[in-house]
Symmetry: C2
Subunit: 323 residues, 2 copies
């Protein structure tokens, strides 16, 4: 986001953001619930989050509708979301075909999942890791031809362990991230797809990633499966990570990673950073209000979050944190 | 705990612990649920946690039974818990009278809560902060006469904010901790009684505490009210704190601090440290098993914990963490 975009935004949190909260709920969250949220409801939710100051949202996954019916309206959601001023509209694409559709719909940013776990790669995309790097290369070529201004990120999934395979060697994770950038990704981030990460490992891996890739080291995508989500984000922040994936209401998981559950809750993550004096650009009260749009679109589905349940501390003034 | 005690313990986690997990469930947890756990059930739970390698447990609060009927059996619980080999049996005492009863029962360690919030101090113990420091001095005098070998710790409650008062000035927190040590406490720790703390604040306050008190800087007592409990423990660990209060099943709160809820879950905290390669001396499988004794003693009461729900990661071997 540019300075101009920020000051045009309606956010009441007026300091320039130090971290970027990349909301993945409409993709990671909605793909993992049985109910399909209607397109209009998705847009109302995306709009509500945008009003709170969220400036990057992964709104859809371009996969065959027979595999993920919840994502059948991906092109429509992207087209409509791009009408929101100052919002970076992101989509997940597992292959060149998906990337073509996403670019045709006018997406602003592409993310490609590349599994570090051999077992998860086969289960998730029915490709080996090497085949996925080749797929990423094809996507990068396409992007260069059709939309050179659209950033392309690789998300190294199961980077901290895998429910199918168990341990994932750290050398393999880092090597894969480097291969992804060599194949044409602008950056590579690390995803704790199944909630196995711990803060020491997060520090170690992001430190290595940054040593290898410098500014091409990408986002931290953490799950809260074992309660360590925020501690892992803190560890990543302290290693210099400045983009954090999170999901409103803690929705999320991976349909092809058994036992994966709950992304880091956006509300709790924003509260942690703002309480620390780290500006997110997101207005906490408006973010809390956006939960109503999520719940209206998924009636009966459980929605999580400790800060929304407990409320903000007495006398808490956003942006007034002692730093 | 001495090296001898550790090697006599049944724990399967054989490395010498780097952090001390101080279990507060039988006091902080049980005082905040409506049901009174029967004495025998309390002992079965305490024994089960002791079997897992927990070496310090706050087993009771010596307060009038008409105020906290859940703690009416405090003396009996202390007496019986002191039979467990290698366990430091701790009790909370709000005044000299309570300390007399706790020492008579044979307690190994005393903790005195001293509120940094003026409003919480009056609500919790109906005394000003200055009056509580004098009470602590009386307890320290008593301890010197009757049981000079029994350590005395002050727990500075509402050290990170207060639901009644809002912000609690950091200078006042540190000054109070210093006054407590001057009045005779062996150490002073900081408690986030109502779950307002954030990692930056935790770092700042423990750094100042350590600068003022050196080795007399005590435990971190964190609540998970807004989901930041483990992140706050991580921040405290990184500032050199080595004793952490936690409560099995995340029970806890303060009956006189509205909105206080859930201590840091012992199971999640032990998992975080062990996964990081920081030895706790606690066997995770046995700790999980101890939940059955808690649940049997409080039928129908909700018990929390993300790691117990999700299970340990595939292939996770305690003590084998890459460090």
């Amino acid at each position: 986001m540019t300075i101009e975009t920020f000051f045009r935004s309606e956010s009441r949190a007026m300091r320039f953001p130090e971290v970027l909260i990349s909301e993945v709920g409409p993709r990671d969250g909605l793909q993992s619930v049985a109910t399909t949220m209607p397109t209009d409801a998705k847009l109302r939710w995306i709009e509500a989050m945008h009003r709170s100051g969220i400036r990057e949202i992964e709104v859809a996954s371009f996969v065959p509708a027979r595999l993920l019916p919840q994502m059948a309206d991906a092109a429509d959601v992207v087209r409509r979301a791009t009408q929101l001023q100052g919002l970076t509209v992101m989509a997940l694409v597992p292959n060149r075909k998906g990337a073509e559709a996403a670019l045709a719909a006018g997406v602003h940013k592409l993310t490609v999942p590349v599994s570090a776990s051999v077992a998860h790669s086969l289960a998730n995309v029915r490709k080996t890791r090497e085949q996925m790097v080749e797929e990423l290369r094809a996507i990068a070529d396409l992007r260069r031809e059709r939309a050179p201004g659209v950033p392309l990120e690789a998300g190294i999934s199961t980077a901290f362990g895998c429910t199918l395979q168990g341990e994932v060697p750290e050398d393999e994770v880092i090597r894969l991230a480097v291969q992804c950038v060599e194949a044409g990704a602008d950056e590579a981030g690390l995803s704790d797809t199944v909630g196995y990460a711990n803060p020491a490992q997060v520090r170690r891996l992001f430190r290595r990633l940054r040593a290898e890739l410098g500014e091409r080291a990408g986002a931290a995508h953490m799950h809260n499966t074992r309660g360590l989500g925020l501690a892992n984000c803190l560890a990543a922040y302290e290693e210099g990570v400045r983009t954090f994936d999170a999901s409103q209401g803690g929705l999320g998981g991976c349909p092809y990673a058994p036992g994966a559950s709950g992304n880091v809750v956006t509300e709790d993550l924003v509260f942690m950073f703002e309480a620390m004096g780290v500006a997110t650009g997101v207005d906490l009260d408006r973010l809390m209000s956006a939960r109503a749009a999520l719940m209206a679109g998924l009636p009966g589905e459980p929605v999580y979050g400790m800060t929304p349940e407990a409320g903000l501390p007495k006398g808490f003034v956003q942006g007034a944190a002692h730093v």
